[in-house]
């Protein structure tokens, strides 16, 4: 199977889908001539031309709303956020227009749009460019929220998201763009709402999404040296959530750590924990612990930025706690 970077996998997904369906267009800042701020759209302008790969002014509210309107009229736009931090400028159109149009029109207008781009922290980008906003979008009925962790998932989930007839918020990761992995060629489609067990284990469940999957896997590898076999469950889609996969794992391991890059308060992990306590209460042998980003705006200084984010040491510490190990 070909080995591609996460970035190349996303590019391949868009290229294949744009060949398959002429109603798909890509728009956003620097997606065309510049080949994408993070090169995810590299080569697409040359291949599909300026009517299908549209460089926009820096006007997130305007071009996202334009995309939603186009989706009401037979176009299937992929709207790139240079980073998801800027999606806050567009959130009125994502929430008030894209998410609600179907409902408030009594089922007349669905919005087949993908709003995609990187979320989370990079490397010392400071407070305004380092945040995980998935819980904001997960909160809204009418949206689907997808966050792939691997190149293979990135391709398979993006292709499915593009074909979905609902608005999909597809959050990538700047830190993951250069990571490599196996990516099936051609028609590789991963259904939304289906989790993936990234590592099998029977002692403890670690639920993690996006780049926290890599942190969880690193922690699990080290725990294995101590004889602890952690199961790493990657929901891949946060809404709809594959609660069954999470609950099944908890029933097997009886102990859970939930890891997320975002802030703790009202983070998506809180929703996972709610499901776990309700559906697997009798199976739990310890309180569920969460490892999250620090409850502060992201600092710039390298040491402080590191301390503000979950890492494998913090995950190991939480696992040891739920196992009541010293």
């Amino acid at each position: 199977m070909p080995i591609l970077t996460y970035r190349e996998a996303l590019n391949q997904a868009m290229r294949e889908e744009m060949h398959r369906d002429e109603t798909i267009v890509l728009m956003g800042e620097e997606v065309g001539f510049y080949n994408g701020a993070y090169k995810v759209s590299k080569g697409l302008l040359d291949e599909f031309g300026p009517m299908r790969v549209l460089d926009t002014p820096i006007t997130e509210l305007g071009f996202t709303g334009l995309g939603v309107g186009a989706a009401m009229a037979g176009v299937r736009p992929i709207v790139e956020m240079m980073t998801f931090n800027f999606s806050m400028l567009a959130i009125d159109q994502i929430v008030n227009s894209a998410a609600k149009m179907l409902y408030m029109s009594g089922g007349q207008f669905n919005i087949p749009i993908v709003v995609r781009g990187p979320g989370g922290a990079g490397h010392q980008l400071g407070a305004q460019h380092s945040q995980s906003l998935e819980s904001w979008y997960c909160h809204v009925p009418g949206l689907k929220v997808v966050m792939p962790a691997t190149p293979g998932d990135a391709k398979g989930l993006l292709k499915t998201s593009i074909r979905d007839n609902n608005p999909v918020v597809f959050i990538e990761s700047e830190v993951l763009y250069g990571t490599k992995g196996e990516v099936p060629e051609g028609e590789h489609l991963i259904p939304l709402g289906v989790a993936d067990i990234k590592r099998q284990g029977h002692d403890v469940t670690i639920v993690a999404h996006s780049k926290m999957v890599l942190v969880a896997l690193d922690a699990a590898a080290e725990l294995a040296k101590d004889g602890i076999e952690a199961e790493v469950v990657d929901p891949r889609t946060l809404r709809p959530l594959d609660t069954e996969a999470i609950v099944n794992s908890v029933r097997k391991t009886n102990r859970v750590v939930v890891v997320e890059e975002g802030w703790e308060f009202c983070g998506v992990g809180a929703q996972f924990v709610d499901t776990i306590q309700r559906e697997a209460f009798d199976y739990l042998d310890a309180p569920v612990l969460r490892v999250t980003g620090a409850d502060v705006p992201m600092p710039y200084a390298k040491n402080l930025e590191h301390d503000a984010q979950p890492d494998k040491e913090k995950v190991k510490e939480a696992v040891n706690k739920v196992l009541y190990r010293k």
Binding site: G69, A73, S97, S105, G107, N165
Partner: protein, 354 residues
């Protein structure tokens, strides 16, 4: 007009309404003589239908049969009627939340519109939208939208779709004068001009954003000038003169359809009622005298007088037409009242599609 904002000078309303611009050439009578008589009669009937529909909506709102916010179009009828008369049936229409009139002119069934206002299953949006969210996919009626300016980027979007899919469909986007100060207006006008999109932006300047008059909200009173910043065609029109609106729109629609060039039109009109049914028709922000003065330019009175003057209609015809639309509105209310509420199972439908 007294202003509570010391930084703004009081402005004479009449001056604002006849400010610099291009007034319609000739009297209404002269222009009416050049139109097809059947069209003239339709325009009159549509304006009357809106007026009677809205009066009835106000009446049953007071009885508690309509809930929430309900924004009436009384006084502004000539804008929707004149503008939509210049469109094709498959041209896209976007509006704000003051959209009952546009929906009726588009041919949406008055009964189904009234049922939507009353939150009934038979409403145009199945009772899930309400007064502010009327939709009709088959008539390319793309919705009433409740966030000020929120529909403006969407309209740029359908215009983009027309261009991309090579369909000769123009988009009309209506909004109030308060929307010209919001970011989505400016971002959308820039995109529409930059990408040469077939869209006509119609600013219905009814003078007030809720209780705030234009001169306390915008540094510029001649609102179509906002288009200059985007190198876009612009004009203003007397929004109380249905034929003037129709003529102006014809030109703008043709510019959109044939040259993919957008236009910003300011239609100067006046809202007789409060911002919504929750507000008084006049209050501390305007006087009863001012409202009465504006009613003297009533679009329906002016137009029916012109049609009488050219001997196209007489008072008996107007009375008969009025009775006909009153009957239609009565039937609409009866239909809404006998329609069931949405089934409880509808709560969870239409959130996602397959």
């Amino acid at each position: 007009m007294k202003s509570s904002n010391a930084a703004t000078e009081p402005v004479n309303v009449t001056e604002l309404l006849v400010g610099p611009g291009q007034p319609a050439a000739g009297t209404i009578e002269e222009r009416a003589r050049r139109e097809d008589p059947a069209v003239l009669k339709t325009l009159l009937e549509q304006m009357l239908l809106i007026r009677r529909f809205e009066e009835k909506a106000a009446e049953i709102y007071q009885l508690g049969k309509i809930g929430g916010f309900c924004h009436l179009y009384i006084g502004q009828e000539a804008v929707a009627v004149g503008a939509l008369s210049a469109t094709h049936p498959d041209d896209y229409i976007f509006t704000s939340y003051r959209e009952h009139g546009h929906a009726l002119v588009r041919g949406m069934d008055p009964g189904e519109v009234m049922a939507e206002l009353c939150g009934k299953q038979s409403g145009v949006s199945k009772g899930k939208g309400g007064s502010m969210h009327l939709f009709d996919r088959h008539r390319s009626f793309m919705g009433g939208h409740g966030i000020v300016g929120g529909q403006i980027p969407l309209a740029a979007g359908t215009a983009f779709a027309s261009k991309y899919l090579k369909q000769p469909r123009v988009t009309l986007c209506f909004f109030g004068e308060a929307a010209v100060n919001i970011g989505s207006f400016h971002e959308s006008l820039n995109l529409a001009a930059l990408w040469k999109l077939p869209v006509v932006f119609i600013c219905e300047n009814n003078r007030f954003g809720m209780g705030t008059p234009i001169e306390r909200a915008s540094s510029l009173y001649e609102l179509s000038q906002k288009a200059c910043a985007y190198n876009m065609a612009r004009t203003w029109v007397d929004g109380m003169d249905v034929l003037a609106v129709r003529e102006t729109m014809k030109e703008a629609v043709s510019r959109a359809r044939e040259q993919n060039a957008p236009t910003l039109i300011e239609a100067r009109t006046y809202r007789y009622m409060g911002h919504s049914m929750s507000d008084p028709s006049h209050g501390h922000y305007r006087t009863k005298v001012e409202v009465e003065e504006q009613r003297r330019h009533d679009p329906i009175k002016q137009f029916s007088a012109a049609l009488e003057a050219i001997d196209l209609v007489n008072q008996a015809y107007i009375d008969e037409l009025d009775q006909k639309v009153r009957d239609t509105v009565e039937e609409a209310v009866a239909f809404a009242e006998r329609s069931p509420q949405p089934d409880a199972r509808e709560l969870y439908t239409d959130v996602y599609v397959d």
